[in-house]
């Protein structure tokens, strides 16, 4: 992992890249079954790319994990044992065994292991609740699995896989700058 950031950049407090408003509007107004279908496809592909993803969880795979990106009216519940992912509007989201709330960009960067979850917690950028042992196990499992979202998901774009990956790489670079 290359982290080409200068000390000066890092000392300047930045905030996570905002999700563009049109995208927020689209996500918040798209019927939930359609969002669920897209998220399912992404989740299945991620599992195919990383079949050992949940190995490190052991018995914690039975737990239900909640992810709530701030700024979006969506909440995700992942049940590794099934394995399954469910999408809810926030007010309808069920209680989970452990949950994390934070900016979407930060949650995605954590998923890829590109930022340190403890550091985000120290800075109060993330909040975690519930079963910390289960959440720690999931964090460590994700950290070791080597997600690369642009590369892993490029196949979903079919014939546009290459431009999709290039665009996604650029978006990710910009987003990570905001987290530095």
């Amino acid at each position: 992992m290359k982290l080409d950031r200068t000390g000066e950049d890092l000392l300047n407090q930045k905030r996570p890249m905002d999700i563009p408003r049109p995208l927020v509007f689209a996500v918040n107004t798209t019927p939930l079954p359609i969002v669920q279908k897209i998220v399912d496809a992404v989740f299945r592909r991620a599992l195919r790319q990383h079949p050992n993803l949940f190995d490190r969880l052991g018995s914690y795979a039975e737990k239900r994990f909640g992810f709530s990106p701030t700024g979006l009216d969506l909440a995700f519940e992942i049940h590794p044992a099934t394995p399954s992912i469910s999408v809810y509007r926030k007010r309808q989201a069920p209680d989970t065994d452990a949950a994390v709330t934070g900016p979407l960009v930060m949650l995605l960067a954590l998923l890829e292991g590109r930022i340190d979850g403890d550091a985000m917690f120290f800075s109060r950028s993330l909040s975690v609740t519930g079963d910390m042992e289960a959440m720690l196990a999931l964090r460590n499992a994700l950290d070791d699995c080597g997600f690369d979202l642009p590369k892993d998901l490029a196949g979903l774009a079919g014939p546009f896989a290459v431009p999709f990956q290039e665009l996604a790489n650029r978006v990710r670079s910009r987003a990570l700058e905001g987290l530095a």
Partner: protein, 325 residues
């Protein structure tokens, strides 16, 4: 000086190698090491592969077996020592004298390092471990000043390794019972200080409250940097004020004392943080690698940004310069 780096997962191990580690310390996925956290550490196969990967790039691997053996279950530790030696570990980091004796007897050619958990901090104790078990290196507790380290170095016949950056344990390591007192589990026996199973965070009127074993450890105001819910860094109501009784939420950074440590005869600098993610490992290792080869004037610029990754977003040189004395 050697740069000794942490790895809690194979991914973190690879990052540490690429970032410039001279050696990497790691442990098996069980109670034989003091970072026995869920989802962390290495299976036997992962350890073998990591050691081979490190060796192919000239990086040593130290396997931490630094908890104290449970009476009646010693075989768990003996097997771990056998497996680490068979996997080709450069050194075993041990705390329990009975395990040191086992390794010295069964694997006489295996290099042995004394863990910080052994809490050996005077020349008599250190030389006893060297003479009895052939220990080649001692990892010093984080309770000595640079001057005390220099004095010790003159009296002992093994290499010295000191913690240079990361989590700051302010207690007599290997003998601290604070975590046991509150949770029934400790780093010394179960390999967990303030285990996640006993940690809870909750929001309370804009504040974030951290709890350990049902006890409130701290209350952080909105946007106030947070720390781990360890008793030694808890904020307590004492007399008429809320204050930190032992230590603030803070991490160790002794890079300002690099030249003094080198002059004192310290052989290796250790980065704490096997429980941290691979992004942390990559950034801290690469920053300290640059700092090690930089001039004293240029050094702070390489290390300053690491404060953001630190507990409480602040660092201290701790006991290395005891300002409170």
């Amino acid at each position: 000086m050697e740069l000794i780096c942490p790895a809690g997962t194979p991914a973190a191990y690879r990052e540490a190698v690429q970032a410039g580690a001279d050696a990497i310390y790691c442990g098996f996925r069980d109670e034989t090491n003091a970072r026995n956290f869920p989802g962390l550490n290495f299976t036997r196969d992962e350890m073998k592969a990591a050691i081979a990967f490190g060796r192919s790039r000239g990086v040593d691997t130290y396997v931490a077996l630094n908890t104290f053996m449970r009476a009646g279950a010693e075989d768990i530790w003996y097997r771990a020592a056998d497996d680490a030696a068979a996997a080709g570990a450069t050194a075993l980091i041990l705390a329990d004298m009975a395990l040191m004796d086992y390794v010295a007897t069964k694997h006489p050619d295996q290099r042995l390092h004394v863990s910080v958990q052994a809490s050996a901090s005077n020349a008599v104790a250190v030389n006893f471990l060297v003479e009895s078990f052939g220990a080649k290196r001692l990892v010093l507790p984080r309770v000595l000043t640079v001057a005390e380290i220099a004095a010790l170095a003159r009296k002992v016949s093994c290499e010295l390794e000191v913690f240079a950056f990361g989590g700051l344990c302010v207690m007599a390591e290997g003998r601290c019972s604070l975590s046991s007192y509150v949770t029934g589990k400790s780093p010394n026996m179960q390999g967990v200080c303030s285990p996640a199973s006993h940690v809870r965070y909750r929001e309370d009127g804009g504040d974030m409250v951290s709890e350990l074993g049902g006890f409130t450890i701290n209350r952080f105001g909105k946007n106030e940097p947070a720390g781990y819910p360890t008793l030694c860094k808890g904020r307590f109501h004492i007399a008429d004020s809320d204050a930190y009784a032992f230590e603030d939420p803070v991490s160790l950074d002794v890079m300002d004392h690099l030249d003094a440590l080198r002059a004192a005869g310290v052989k290796a600098l250790k980065i704490e943080g096997r429980q941290r993610g691979k992004a942390y490992v990559a950034e801290v290792v690469s920053s300290l690698r640059r700092a090690l080869s930089a001039s004293p004037q240029a050094r702070p610029a390489h290390v300053a940004q690491l404060r953001k990754l630190s507990e409480g977003q602040q660092t201290t040189s701790g006991a290395y310069e005891k300002k409170w004395r």
